[in-house]
């Protein structure tokens, strides 16, 4: 058995986009992404909208059929055929607490659905007990079981979604921006709950988010994505203190810090321009169009992730 829970190797996910009457062009949402996650570890995946971070999560769970590359779970490769047996091992928590819960189902039925699908109970009583246990685990009141999702606030809905994901006892959960739709005060509750669940159940997370403050708080390691590529991976604190890639540096400096003193002193690197369309990717390094250090070499070839010491990987020619 391998030491890793999840190994993603050269994952590619292209979508065909119609560009003419008959012509289609590939949209390279994820292009050659590799990373690993150990049991019980949290990997944060950050990047701006459209960088492919959500697609990575969904490709791992085979909600899309990847164009290329492999995903191994506990050393076994996930394929189209055997994905059914992995559904109990890997789960997902969604960004939007409103659209991720069926408005016509009660909380009990939503949390109970995975149990129904996988026949995880012997009788009605056991089903009910399991559901109440899960609800208690995520801090929901048992008396709420018969209510409908629309009666809850965003934070409570997100708890319901998490309870649903936990119902099958997964070892790995893809968290797709789970707190970005929540208010700050509720965000902290949910983040704490993710941490508690990791402690109690030993579950590993792929934590996808655009909020660097949140990602740094919850992750052991962080991978930064830009236009379908991972540009930098490092341990959480290492990445925050010594960012190597110019994109990571500007991303970090762009984060508004809730502290007027630092805000006044801060010298920020403001990136010029916008993210290029993934349909018209620049040649070579995808970041070169906005990079202050770009040279001719950057236009020629795309840099590979290389180790800069201590497991700090960075894909840049000039750093």
């Amino acid at each position: 058995m391998s030491e890793y829970l999840l190994e993603v190797e050269h994952l590619k996910q292209y979508f065909q986009v119609r560009s003419g009457f008959f012509k289609t062009v590939p949209l390279k949402a994820v292009d050659d992404v590799s990373f690993t996650i150990k049991p019980g570890e949290t990997l944060g995946l950050v990047g701006e909208s459209g960088c492919g971070k959500t697609t990575v999560g969904r490709s791992i769970l085979r909600l899309y059929e990847p164009t290329g590359g492999t995903v191994k779970f506990e050393g076994k490769e996930i394929t189209k055929k055997n994905i059914g047996s992995f559904r109990k091992e890997m789960q997902m928590v969604f960004q939007d607490p409103y659209s991720s819960l069926n408005p016509r189902m009660t909380v009990e039925d939503i949390i109970g659905e995975p149990l129904d699908v996988h026949n995880l109970y012997a009788n009605k009583k056991e089903r009910r007990e399991k559901i109440l246990h899960l609800m208690a685990l995520v801090g929901l009141n048992a008396e709420h079981a018969t209510r409908y999702a629309h009666e809850f606030s965003g934070g409570q809905r997100q708890r319901i979604g998490i309870a649903r994901a936990l119902a099958v006892n997964p070892k790995f959960i893809v968290c797709d921006e789970p707190v970005s739709a929540l208010d700050v005060s509720i965000q902290a509750q949910v983040i704490n709950m993710f941490e508690d669940l990791r402690q109690e159940l030993g579950v590993a997370y792929l934590f996808i988010a655009h909020d660097l403050l949140v990602v740094r708080h919850i992750s052991d390691r962080i991978a930064v994505m830009y236009l379908g590529h991972v540009v930098e991976t490092a341990a959480s604190d290492e990445l925050m203190q010594h960012p190597q890639h110019p994109y990571t540096q500007s991303l970090l400096s762009a984060v508004p810090i809730p502290d007027p003193e630092t805000a006044r002193k801060k010298n920020r690197i403001i990136l010029e321009g916008d993210v290029p369309s993934p349909l018209r990717m620049p040649s070579g390094c995808p970041f070169r169009t906005r990079c202050a250090y770009a040279t001719d070499k950057c236009a020629e070839a795309c840099p590979e992730l290389t180790d800069r010491g201590g497991g700090h990987l960075c894909a840049c020619w000039n750093r």
Binding site: Q91, P103, R164
Partner: protein, 358 residues
């Protein structure tokens, strides 16, 4: 301004520390919880019904429709005349009971009553063939309502099946299925109805007296046409609905859980488009009634002597100058039914359509 003192003494300086210190004791969790009440639990259906019953127009139409339905069920049991019976008094045909005005009796009947007999009033008068007009309108309404409901059911069934298959499978299947829908859409429906009823008249011959024969070939061709042509609107609607529901994360969530497509359609997709289905069926009924009336009016409707509201109106045309009420009654009934269904449908949409919710 908050009051700081209960016993009526002049208000103290809000900043002074003389305020009742008890009030600054810590509140218990229990007390705090009392402040934080969750609103009463309602299901989607109950919430919708509550909204529906707050809409005066919808409630009024509901009342009107219920009244009409009660009348068409109860009236034939009370009124001692049949829709095709020529009036007779003591077994003698009453030739004078032609085109009576509402609530009047013929000479024969007056005689009969004078002799101590009881005679049920002709509420809407009689027609030119000495038949009680009220009971004919009641039967006409029955026919029209049954046609409306039945046709809508056909449309609903075919449309739902076709639309959900097309919407759920998507891709190439969807493309082909929708092009077929487009083709059917472009057929002129009236022409097809007329052609079909002519053809069916030739082809089909029912045993006289059977219920099918009573309805008549025209009516059957009407159903066939509804079945063939009018489901396309419903199919498109349901397909669109399913496409938008498919985008929701709870469908993706069900897939990550490992739910099979059948379960996803049953548990997640259909319950979420049920409101749209109900609403559009409610709106489909009046249009079917309208089509039926229109066809009966031009003479392609039910077989005589079976009345329908349209054929009654058509028959009333001839004596329009002398007996205008004969047109008024069926026409008014059509108007009432169609208007009520439309208003009810609108009310249902306002109450149930999730898109109109904030």
């Amino acid at each position: 301004m908050a009051k700081y003192n209960e016993n009526g003494t002049p208000k103290k300086n809000p900043l002074s520390l003389q305020i009742n210190l008890q009030k600054f004791e810590k509140a218990t969790d229990e007390e705090k919880r009392q402040q934080d009440v969750m609103s009463k639990s309602t299901t989607f259906f109950r919430d919708g019904m509550r909204k529906l019953f707050r809409n005066p127009l919808a409630v009024m139409s509901l009342v009107v429709l219920t009244l009409i339905i009660i009348v068409i069920i109860v009236a034939p049991m009370i009124v001692p005349y049949g829709y095709s019976d020529i009036l007779s008094v003591d077994g003698k045909r009453d030739k004078g009971a032609k085109n009576l005005a509402p609530f009047t009796y013929s000479e024969l009947e007056q005689e009969y009553i004078a002799n101590g007999g009881e005679r049920f009033p002709h509420i809407f008068g009689t027609d030119e063939q000495c038949r009680d007009y009220f009971i004919r309108v009641v039967y006409g309404t029955r026919i029209s309502l049954v046609v409306g409901l039945f046709a809508s059911m056909i449309v609903l069934l075919i449309g739902m099946l076709y639309g959900s298959i097309s919407g759920y499978l998507g891709g190439k299947v969807d493309l082909i299925m929708m092009r077929i829908v487009d083709m059917i859409y472009s057929l002129p429906d009236m022409l097809i109805i007329i052609l079909l009823s002519v053809v069916l008249n030739q082809v089909m011959s029912f045993k006289s007296g059977s219920s099918l024969a009573k309805i008549g070939t025209n009516m059957i061709s009407l159903f066939i046409v509804f079945g063939l042509l009018y489901w396309v609107g419903m199919a498109r609607l349901i397909r669109g609905q399913i496409l938008s529901i498919k985008e929701n994360d709870y469908i993706t969530a069900a897939r990550t859980i490992g739910a099979k497509p059948g379960r996803i359609i049953r548990k997640h997709i259909l319950p979420n488009c049920i409101s749209v289905i109900i609403i559009s069926t409610a709106l489909q009924i009046p249009s079917a009634i309208f089509t039926e009336s229109y066809l009966s009016f031009v003479g392609l409707g039910v077989q005589a002597p079976m009345p329908s509201l349209g054929s009654l109106a058509n028959a009333a045309r001839e004596g329009l100058q002398s007996y205008p009420y004969k047109l008024v009654f069926p026409a008014l009934t059509i108007c009432l039914i169609v208007l009520s269904f439309n208003l009810l449908g609108d009310g249902l949409r306002d109450a149930f359509d999730p898109k109109l919710k904030r």
